[in-house]
Amino acid sequence: MSLRRIATVEDLHQYLHVAMQLEHATIPPYLTALYSMHSTANQDAHRVIRVVAVEEMLHLTLAANLLNAVGGTPDLSRNDFVPVYPTRLPDGETDFEVGTRAFSPDTIKTFLKIERPAVADQGGSRFVSRDRSARTLMPTVNAHEDDLHFFSIGEFYAEIGEGLERLHHELGDDLFRGDPARQVGPAYYYSGGASVVEVTDAASAAAALRIISEQGEGLGGGIFDEEGELAHFYRFDQLLRGHYYQPGDEAGRPTGPALHVDWDAVYPLMPDSALDHYPEPGELQDAVTAFSRAYGDFLARLTEAFNGRPELLVPAVVDMFHIRDLASRIIRNPMPGRPGVNAAPVFRGLAPVGVA
């Protein structure tokens, strides 16, 4: 199924659900690349990817704030919330798939596509028609129009921005009917790049959207955003070009200090690791299952946090350490019967096991 132009509050909820799915969908690929690096190698590259991953978590939180602000109910524990990798991105970009892969030049090229800057003309249609794909995780709605898709994440958010404006014009401040107590504020979330915005009105909604789109793709063509922060696309670009960008640089020509990448100091992780890659009962299967289960618990905790209990983001930090530790248990193990391939975590979010 697909998305149509935002005409109703329900459409907006739909888009914001997809936004949360979209922001989350990038996190397992980024984390897999991070986990795959040998622990003492590639510190420059590790920091670059980590910053982006942390900011995607900020974007996820901002999308949840937006959804809560307009009366929606975030749910990260739905069965279809986590895509099956490889996947197309939920906003409907059709020309590439995203997987959970080890750190490599190809992986970074995919990351560049995820974060690529918008190219559609302002005012022109940002919708692209295409055939449905079985591999795209799209939410179920009644499509009023033909399938519409976006060339980039930035354009997807531009549509949300315009939809918000249209609905605000139509409904006035009644659009922001959500309970402000459901907002995640700076008390429970901060990262260095930008701070979380509590969304309670049109201005704060616009501010939240601006962070999401500019931090990612540098919408408007600049490599740095208004706060002087380097857009994600160019952060990844640095890894392939071997130099840091610095203020004044043009796209594609970073002139900052050298950035050293050792493409070989990486565990050869099973691409797009899935639970059925581990059919044999034993310690490896247990470890992979434990990871999936912990990831499911984590998403359930986030769902609760985004539904009026933002203080749960404090223990969620502990969950994230736990998830990392479980991943590091997996990645050093060769796959049985697959020489040269190591096991990798599966971000499936298995339901928690009930305790008798």
């Binding site: 003492t40 670059v48 910053v51 901060y190 930090v317």
Partner: protein, 618 residues
């Protein structure tokens, strides 16, 4: 370099202020002056190429790889600007100074305190406790007929404590920190909410709160309290009259933005892996952003020169290109005003090496540090040891009272890192279980957990009063790789302190009894830090809280600096840091010396801007 500046350019520039040392004092003074329009040069003897996460992480990698995790293990060995390290301490043979390592120790007590010579100074390895001193600590002579009075009161310093709490980013709740005379202005809030007490803290509070301990005639009622800490927590929206506070994250120049809050990693000392803990690099980075702070690292201030008018005329430097070679170039730096902020040992060493013992003769004397008595044992239940930052709570109730006329005040910290400081846990536990107990597999894992998560260690931080005979000197026989005179330490612990050590051991036994703790404390007579007192032996550790070597006072004949930390002898020289403190009470010195730095910056600005020749550029 944080700001591209070379020695030749710096030597040609007439700065408003030259600051020697990039630790917390120097950083605060530099930032504060630059924000008010003055041009500042900071010279740092130790290495540091840039204020970046990448550089910070090189320290972290070195620490992870180090076999001995002492508090300078994160920093490279650098003969050109050496620093004391606790494993250097060897045990003195009577009458023979220990001169093998940088700090020459004359004894009789051999100290294992350290400091860090690297960009950011000792805040790179400090633990982050941000304690105000008690009002009575400022009046030791008047109140307890011991030690020295400050030329300042708590109330004089209180506004600067608030500035320091903002700069360092202190997490605490006012209700928890209001005790024994400490007051805050009405409505005051700390920048961030107090960090949560550890499970270990709550376990101890459950059993200890309300216990009465007697020190001389003073009855002290124990209450386990959360500790004010300079590490990022949840920002307090009510801070600064409702303006809130934005925590300062990792310092970075390459768009590597990390705004971390404390995650409960247990290695605050020597280095917080996520920069949740304050370091002076944060302050320096704000200073650099003004465009008016230049920093030269690997630049050792070697000689302070005084002109015919009694004012400082210039400072000689030695700049070395590599920590592995003594090759260096020399030159001179000039400024209107000079600030020595190189820590109490290095400030005294540089002045004495420059032939400037001050007219009072007190430079290097009155050296203080806290003496630490560690006691440890096993709790009867699993208490989650090794979780949380190193210390999240303590006992403040032995710090204040009339007993201080007889013996020193005491502050107790509860250590979430178990026996780490005393025995090297958890590494030593693991080695013992594997090598001696032949444990492996599941049994090993279970025994590690059982043993480590029941560990309890208390540290008793004991005041040392100023004694002129405790001192830093220099001696032409002892020089470092660049030919600079090394510090020579003569130090003993007075009865005023040792009586409190004995009382601490007694209190520890009482608390352990209440807790049902199996006491495992053992003081090895072969330990270089073993001390006997009235028939009992103790091992006393240093606190790295050096102080007193350029003591502050009301007159030039019995003090080195005035209440603004300005030298009595040289009107354009300030000696900044805990070296100015006439007493250290039972507070870790950083917050107080940070407060003093703000006061000093104010004074420098008022002195310089009242001179018509200086134009403010702000």
């Amino acid at each position: 370099m944080p700001v591209p500046i070379d020695h030749a350019t710096a030597a040609r520039t007439e700065y408003d202020v030259l600051v020697v040392g990039s630790g917390v004092s120097g950083a605060i003074i530099a930032r504060s002056l630059a924000e008010r329009g003055l041009q500042v040069l900071v010279v740092e003897a130790g290495p540091g190429k840039e204020l970046s996460v990448a550089e910070y992480d090189t320290h972290l990698t070195r620490f992870y790889g180090a076999a001995a995790k002492d508090n300078n293990s994160a920093y490279e060995v650098n003969p050109n600007a050496p620093m004391p390290r606790s494993p250097d301490v060897r045990g003195l043979a009577e009458g023979h100074p220990d001169s093998l390592s940088y700090l020459v120790q004359n004894g009789p007590y051999e100290m294992d305190s350290t400091y860090t010579r690297v960009l950011g100074g000792t805040t790179m390895h400090w633990e982050g406790k941000a304690l105000r001193m008690l009002p009575e600590d400022f009046r030791m002579r008047t109140r307890f007929a011991t030690g020295r009075d400050w030329p300042l009161t708590y109330d004089d310093l209180e506004p600067h404590y608030r500035q320091a709490e903002r700069e360092l980013g202190v997490s605490a709740d006012v209700a928890d920190q209001t005790f024994y005379g400490i007051t805050f202005p009405p409505g005051y809030e700390f920048p961030m909410h107090g960090l949560p007490p550890s499970y270990l803290d709550t376990t101890l509070a459950r059993d200890l709160d309300g216990t009465v301990v007697r020190l001389e005639a003073t009855e002290c009622t124990i209450q386990v309290r959360p500790t004010a800490q300079a590490r990022n927590g949840i920002p307090n929206a009510a801070y600064d009259g409702g303006k809130g506070y934005v925590p300062v994250g990792a310092v970075s120049t390459h768009q590597i933005d990390q705004g971390e809050r404390c995650q409960g990693n247990i290695n605050c000392v020597p280095l917080c892996p996520v920069q949740a803990k304050y370091s002076a690099r944060k302050t320096l980075s704000f200073g650099v952003r003004t465009g008016r702070v230049h920093i030269l690292t690997q630049t050792v201030a070697s000689q302070v020169h005084v002109g015919a008018d009694g004012r400082i005329s210039h400072v000689d430097y030695q700049a070395y290109g590599s920590t592995t070679s003594p090759e260096h170039v020399t030159g001179s730096l000039r400024a209107t005003t000079y600030v020595l902020a190189a820590n109490p040992v290095e400030n005294a060493r540089l002045l004495l090496a420059s032939g400037l013992p001050s007219s009072s003769g007190l430079v290097g004397r009155n050296l203080m540090d806290h003496a630490y008595l560690l006691t440890w044992g096993l709790l009867p239940e699993i208490a989650g040891t090794m979780r949380g930052s190193q210390c999240t709570s303590g006992i403040e109730d032995l710090r204040s009272g009339d007993f201080r006329g007889r013996h020193a005040g005491i502050r107790v910290s509860i250590h979430n890192d178990g026996w780490s400081w005393a025995t090297g846990a958890p590494y030593t536990d693991l080695i013992e279980l594997v090598d001696d107990a032949n444990a492996y597999g599941t049994a090993l894992r279970r025994r590690v957990v059982d043993r480590i998560s029941r560990q309890l260690m208390l540290s008793f931080m004991i005041e040392v009063p100023p004694e002129p005979s405790n001192r830093i000197t220099v001696d032409g026989r002892y020089v470092d790789a660049l030919g600079n005179l090394r510090p020579v330490l003569s130090y003993s612990l007075p009865d005023y302190t040792m009586d409190a050590v004995a009382a601490s051991r007694r209190v520890s036994r009482q608390l352990f009894r209440r807790l049902g703790v199996e006491d495992r404390t053992f003081y090895d007579p072969r330990d270089p830090a073993f001390v006997s007192h009235q028939g009992e032996g103790y091992v006393l550790r240093g606190g790295n809280h050096w102080a007193g070597t350029h003591v502050m006072g009301t007159a030039s004949h019995d003090s080195v600096v005035d209440s603004h930390q300005r030298s009595w002898d040289h009107q354009n020289l300030y000696l900044a840091g805990s070296g100015s403190m006439p007493s250290i009470g039972t507070s870790n010195t950083t917050l107080t010396l940070a407060a003093l730095s703000f006061r000093t910056a104010d004074h420098i600005v008022s002195e310089l801007t009242t001179r018509p020749s200086v134009m403010l550029k702000g």
